[in-house]
Amino acid sequence: MSTLIVIDQPPYGSWAGREALDMAFSLAAFDQPVSLLFCGAGVNWLRKGQEPGTIRQKSVEKNLAAAPIFGVEALLADGDDCKRYGLEAEQLLDGVTLVQADSQLFTNYSHTAFAG
């Protein structure tokens, strides 16, 4: 019973992604298999070199880097959406797997959820 948590909102301007990350962390805390999918504007979570100190927010780049440590199985990103936002593979955070967010992908998970 594996869960896919989807982040499709960009970081900093909205809180939904952070709450999605907490959902993934809590599943991992209870040893439930979970992966994160970044699609749409959500792929902007994955850009290297974020420095949100000036807007007084925590870096989602740094927060997200804790995901593998806590046992989140995979960080997936929609390849087409990355391209749309000008994200080349080398600009992406380490450990991100490019996928195609299609019906095939979703059938691999028994449960799919957004944070809001």
Binding site: D8, C39, G40, S103, F106, F114
Partner: protein, 93 residues
């Protein structure tokens, strides 16, 4: 009663990016249930989805959306509950 692979509950208006994403992801064995603002995309969704499209009647009525006879199946909350029980998986967009 036929099996539903995934029931997609879609409450976003057709302008919302999740609307198009939901339509593109729903497979032929899936059912899309339009609720809340989602019913505004009735014609778009029925035309482009590969699966079956249903709409929640109270949300249509609230918005003055009248279904052209026979083009879309409308359901009430009782039927919505039955659909969630029938589907293997439920995704709320």
């Amino acid at each position: 009663m036929t099996e539903i692979q995934t029931l997609h509950i879609l409450n976003k208006s057709p302008e919302h990016p999740r609307f198009a994403r939901c339509l593109s992801i729903a497979g032929p064995a899936d059912t899309i249930l339009l609720i809340e603002n989602g019913v505004l995309g009735l014609s778009t969704a029925s035309a482009s989805a590969s699966g079956k499209v249903l709409a929640l009647e109270p949300d249509m009525a609230a918005r003055g959306i009248v279904s052209q006879s026979g083009t879309v199946e409308t359901v009430d909350y009782d039927a919505m509950v039955a659909l969630t029980a029938r589907a293997q998986q439920v995704i709320s967009w």
